[in-house]
C-alpha cells in the first residue's frame, strides 16, 4: 500500500519538476562553484517567491479554465501605489499594505465580473484590464516624491528570521493556504469542475459565477502581494516592475503540469516550476555568450526540460 503511494508521488508531475530543479542545481554547481552556494540557492528561492505568488493566483485561474493577463499590471500597480499610501499614522505600515491588497483584489474582482457576468473571454477581459491599468499608471507613476518607507514592506523584502528570507516564509504560508484551498475544500473541487466542464458543473448546481469571481479576486490578491514583496526587495517601485511576471507566471503554471485548458493541475507543481524558471535564468546569466546565444540556450533548456517532464494527457 505505502509502496504504491510512494510510487505515485515519485511519478507525479510536481515531483518530477522538483527532481529536475535539483538536477539542474547540482549540475550547475559543478560548472560554476558559486552557483550552488547556499546563499545563492536561498536567493533563487526568494526570487521564485515573487513568481510563485503571482503564479498562485494564476494557477487558480488556469485550473478554473481561464487565464489572467493582467497580473503584470497588477503587480506594478501594487508596487507603485503602495508608497503613495504609506501614511505616517500607522507605525507598522500594515494599513497601507492592506489598502493596496484591497485595491488589487478589487481589480481582480472586476476581471471576474467581466468574465462571469458579461461573459467576456478571460483573455480579452484581462488584456483589456491590463490596458486600463497602464492608463492608471500614467496617472499615478511618478506622482509622489516620497520614497517607500513602509516598515512592513522593508521587513518583507529584507528580513531573514531564522536565516530564511521573509519573502520565502510568506510564500510558504501562501502555498499552504493555496494547496489547502485547492485540494481540501469544496471550493477547490468546484474550481476543477468549472475548468473541466462548465456546463456540467452548472447543471450539478455549482455556483459558477461566484466561484469565477472568487478566482479572479484571488489572482488580484496574490499579484498584489507579489507587488508588495517585490517593492520590499528592490526598495523602490517603478513602472514596469511587474512586466517579467506575466510570462513567468504562465510558464511556471504550465511547467508545473497544470493544463492550460483547465480542470487539471496543482499548485504543488507550480512551486517547483517557479524555482525552475529562476534557476534557468540565473544559469543563463552566468554563462558567457552573446545575447543571441543566451536566448537560444534559455529556450532550448526549457524545451529540453519539457521533454523530460511534460507530456500532455489526451482529452475528449
Amino acid at each position: 500500500m505505502g509502496g504504491r503511494r510512494t510510487l505515485t508521488i515519485l511519478r507525479s508531475r510536481p515531483f518530477l519538476t522538483l527532481a529536475i530543479v535539483a538536477a539542474v542545481w547540482i549540475a550547475a554547481s559543478f560548472v560554476s562553484r558559486g552557483f550552488g552556494a547556499y546563499g545563492h540557492l536561498r536567493y533563487l528561492v526568494e526570487l521564485a517567491a515573487v513568481i510563485g505568488l503571482v503564479a498562485a493566483g494564476q494557477t487558480f485561474v488556469v485550473i478554473a479554465g481561464g487565464i489572467d493577463l493582467s497580473v503584470a499590471a497588477i503587480v506594478t500597480v501594487s508596487a507603485v501605489s503602495l508608497p503613495l499610501l504609506s501614511w505616517q499614522a500607522d507605525p507598522t505600515g500594515l494599513t497601507a499594505v492592506l489598502a493596496v491588497l484591497a485595491l488589487t483584489t478589487t481589480i481582480g474582482l472586476v476581471n471576474g465580473l467581466g468574465v462571469a457576468l458579461l461573459r467576456v473571454h478571460p483573455m480579452i477581459m484581462t488584456l483589456a484590464m491590463a490596458t486600463f491599468l497602464q492608463g492608471l499608471l500614467i496617472i499615478i507613476a511618478g506622482g509622489s516624491a516620497v520614497t517607500a518607507e513602509n516598515p512592513l514592506v522593508r521587513w518583507l523584502g529584507n528580513a531573514r528570521p531564522a536565516g530564511i528570507p521573509a519573502g520565502v516564509l510568506l510564500w510558504v504560508a501562501v502555498s499552504v493556504i493555496v494547496l489547502a484551498a485547492m485540494h481540501a475544500t469544496s471550493f477547490g473541487a468546484r474550481l476543477f469542475a468549472i475548468g473541466a466542464n462548465p456546463l456540467a458543473a452548472t447543471l450539478s448546481g455549482v455556483p459558477v459565477a461566484s466561484t469565477t469571481l472568487a478566482v479572479y479576486a484571488i489572482s488580484g490578491f496574490t499579484s498584489g502581494l507579489a507587488g508588495v514583496l517585490v517593492l520590499g526587495m528592490n526598495g523602490q517601485g517603478y513602472v514596469g516592475i511587474g512586466d517579467p511576471y506575466l510570462l513567468a507566471s504562465i510558464a511556471a503554471v504550465v511547467l508545473g503540469g497544470t493544463s492550460i485548458l483547465g480542470g487539471l493541475g496543482t499548485y504543488a507543481g507550480t512551486i517547483p516550476g517557479a524555482i525552475l524558471l529562476v534557476t534557468i535564468t540565473a544559469l543563463i546569466t552566468v554563462v558567457n555568450a552573446s545575447p543571441g546565444w543566451r536566448s537560444i540556450l534559455f529556450g532550448s533548456l526549457i524545451l529540453g526540460l519539457l521533454l523530460l517532464s511534460g507530456r500532455e494527457q489526451a482529452r475528449r
Binding site: S186, A189, F192, N197, A200, S204, G205
Partner: protein, 502 residues
C-alpha cells in the same frame, strides 16, 4: 452460404487497456445480407470490438480479416477503402461544420484536388434523404438536437456507400419515428447484400431486425448463433449469465393528491404557455418527437435556462427557482441526456464526479474528507453496480456506466423531485431494470419523478401519466389507463395527421 468469405471478421482478437483485459479471444464474422447483432452489458467490450474492426484501435492479439484475408495493419483510412463504415455514437461530428461537410469528412469528392461542393451537395443530399434528414445541408451540426446529430452520423456512414455498416447504439437517442425510418433503411440495405453489425440495448429492436447474434460477457464471447428460435429472455440470459426477471417493475398506484411542482403559463425556450402539475409519488412521463421543447421544459423548471411563468409552486416554495443552486436547494435534481457534454467531467475521477453536487452545496471553505467521499462513492457504486477502481477518470467508463455515474451523484442528496432527461439511453437491460426499480421506489417514497424519454415502452410501462409535447405545447396528458405506444405516438404525430387531413 459457406462458400462466401465474411466481408469483415475478427479472429480471436484480444485487447487490454493498461493491463486490464477488455476483450479476450473474441471472434466475429460479418456476412453480406445479414444484420448481425452484438449484445452485451455495459462495459462488455462491444465498442472496443468495433473499434478493432474499424481500425480505430489495434488488437493486442488475433487478426482482423477483410474478405477472408488478414489485414496486417488496420487503420481508419484502410477501413474506409475497404468499404467499412461505422456509425459512432455522435462521436465523429464537428459542431462548427455544416451537415454536408460533416457527412463528407474524410472522404470528400474532389475536383482538381479541391473539395467539389456541388458534388458533395448531391451525394450528401442523397444520404440525408435515405435517413429522412430534411434540414438544410448548410446548417452547422452544432445547431442540431442530439437525435438529429445521430441521423447525420448515420447519413455519414451511408454516404460512404459501405459494404459493411457498423452501428453502435444508433437508436439510443432516436424517437420512435426516427427508429422506424432507420429499421426500414437497414432492411433495404440488407436486401442490397450489405453486411450490418448492429449494437443496441433494445432487445425488441434486435429481435425484429437481426438474423444473427454475438453476445459478449466480460470481454469473452458467450454466444455466436442464429437468432432464429431464440427469444428475448434467452438473450438476456446470455448477456447477464442468469435468468432475467421482468424488465419493468409492477406498477402500483402511489400518486398522492399533493403537487410537487405546479406551473401555469410556463414558457422557456421552445415551450410556450404550458400548464403542468407534477404530483408527489408519481412518475410523470414526457413524450413526443425529439426536439419539440421537452428538454427546455425540464431545463426551465430546473432554472438552467431563463423561464417565465404566471404562477409556480415548487416543493412548497412559490415561484420558479431561477437558478440551479436554488433549484437544488428546493430538492430538484436534473440528469442530462448528453452525459459526455452535460453530465460528467470526463477527465476527473469517478469519485469526484459522484461528489460534485455535494461540493456544490457545501460551504465553500468546508474541509473535505477524502475518506468520507470514498465511502459514499463506494456505496453508490455498489448500489448501481459500477465496477472497478473509482479513482479512474470517468472517460475510461463505458457509455452505460457513465450514465450510472451521472444518476448516482444525486442520490446522497435525497432530492424531492427528479428531472430525468432520457436516463436509460445506451444503458443495458440489467441496469435499466435497476434504474426503473429505483424510480418506482423513489415515487413510492412520496417523491416526484419527471421522466423525459425517447423510449416509448418505457413511458408506457413505467409512468403514471404521460404528457405528450408537440411544438412547444403539451398536446395530450395521457392517464395510466389510456397509456399505450399507439396513443403516445399518435398524439406526438398529431400535427402531421391534421396537416394531411387539411
Amino acid at each position: 452460404m459457406l462458400a462466401t468469405a465474411p466481408l469483415l471478421a475478427a479472429r480471436g482478437v484480444s485487447k487490454s487497456f493498461f493491463g486490464n483485459p477488455v476483450l479476450r479471444d473474441v471472434s466475429i464474422a460479418l456476412q453480406p445480407g445479414r444484420v448481425h447483432a452484438l449484445l452485451g452489458e455495459n462495459g462488455a467490450g462491444k465498442s472496443t470490438l468495433i473499434n478493432l474492426l474499424s481500425g480505430a484501435l489495434r488488437p493486442d492479439g488475433g487478426a482482423i480479416e477483410v474478405d477472408g484475408r488478414p489485414v496486417s495493419r488496420m487503420t481508419p483510412a484502410y477501413a474506409q477503402q475497404a468499404g467499412i463504415a461505422v456509425v459512432q455514437q455522435e462521436l465523429s461530428l464537428t459542431a462548427s461544420l455544416s451537415i454536408a461537410e460533416n457527412i463528407g469528412l474524410g472522404a470528400y469528392p474532389r475536383r482538381f484536388g479541391l473539395l467539389d461542393y456541388p458534388e458533395l451537395a448531391v451525394r450528401a443530399r442523397a444520404a440525408c434523404d435515405l435517413v429522412g434528414l430534411d434540414e438544410p445541408l448548410s446548417m452547422p451540426v452544432g445547431h442540431l438536437s442530439l437525435g438529429r446529430r445521430q441521423m447525420v452520423e448515420i447519413a455519414k456512414a451511408l454516404y460512404r456507400r459501405p459494404r459493411v455498416l457498423i452501428l453502435d447504439e444508433p437508436t439510443s437517442s432516436l424517437s420512435a419515428t426516427e427508429t422506424k425510418v432507420l429499421t426500414n433503411l437497414l432492411e433495404r440495405l440488407r436486401g442490397e447484400r450489405i453486411a450490418i453489425l448492429y449494437i443496441s440495448h433494445r432487445l425488441n429492436e434486435v429481435m425484429a431486425l437481426c438474423q444473427h447474434v454475438t453476445v459478449l460477457k466480460d470481454g469473452t464471447c458467450t454466444a455466436d448463433r442464429s437468432l432464429e428460435g431464440t427469444d428475448a429472455n434467452e438473450l438476456v440470459r446470455l448477456m447477464v449469465g442468469r435468468d432475467p426477471g421482468d424488465l419493468f417493475p409492477r406498477w402500483q398506484a402511489s400518486a398522492l393528491a399533493a403537487n410537487a411542482i405546479s406551473v401555469r403559463n410556463f414558457s422557456a425556450g421552445l415551450m410556450r404557455d404550458v400548464d403542468l402539475d407534477v404530483r408527489t409519488g408519481e412518475v410523470l412521463g414526457i413524450g413526443g418527437l425529439v426536439g419539440q421543447g421537452q428538454e427546455d421544459l425540464l431545463l426551465g423548471l430546473y432554472g438552467a435556462i431563463p423561464a417565465r411563468t404566471a404562477s409556480a409552486t415548487v416543493n412548497g416554495a412559490l415561484g420558479l427557482p431561477g437558478g440551479v443552486p436554488k433549484a437544488n436547494a428546493l430538492g430538484l435534481a436534473y440528469v442530462p441526456a448528453d452525459r459526455k457534454r452535460e453530465g460528467l467531467h470526463l477527465i476527473h475521477s469517478i469519485i469526484t464526479n459522484m461528489m460534485l453536487p455535494a461540493f456544490a452545496r457545501l460551504p465553500a471553505l468546508k474541509l473535505r474528507s477524502r475518506r468520507a467521499e470514498r465511502e459514499t462513492a463506494r456505496g453508490l457504486a455498489a448500489q448501481l453496480g459500477i465496477k472497478g477502481d473509482l479513482g479512474r477518470p470517468a472517460q475510461a467508463l463505458s457509455g452505460g456506466n457513465q450514465q450510472k455515474v451521472a444518476l448516482a451523484k444525486w442520490m446522497p442528496h435525497h432530492p424531492l423531485a427528479l428531472l430525468l432527461n432520457d436516463p436509460t439511453r445506451g444503458v443495458d437491460v440489467e441496469t435499466k431494470r435497476e434504474i426503473y426499480m429505483m424510480l418506482r421506489n423513489f415515487a413510492a417514497a412520496g417523491k416526484a419523478v419527471v421522466l423525459l424519454s425517447s423510449d416509448t415502452p418505457e413511458l408506457v410501462h413505467l409512468c403514471d401519466r404521460v404528457a405528450v409535447v408537440r411544438e412547444g405545447q403539451i398536446v395530450a396528458m395521457l392517464e395510466r389507463g389510456a397509456l399505450s405506444e399507439e396513443a403516445i405516438v399518435s398524439a406526438a404525430m398529431g400535427a402531421e395527421h391534421q396537416k394531411v387531413a387539411a
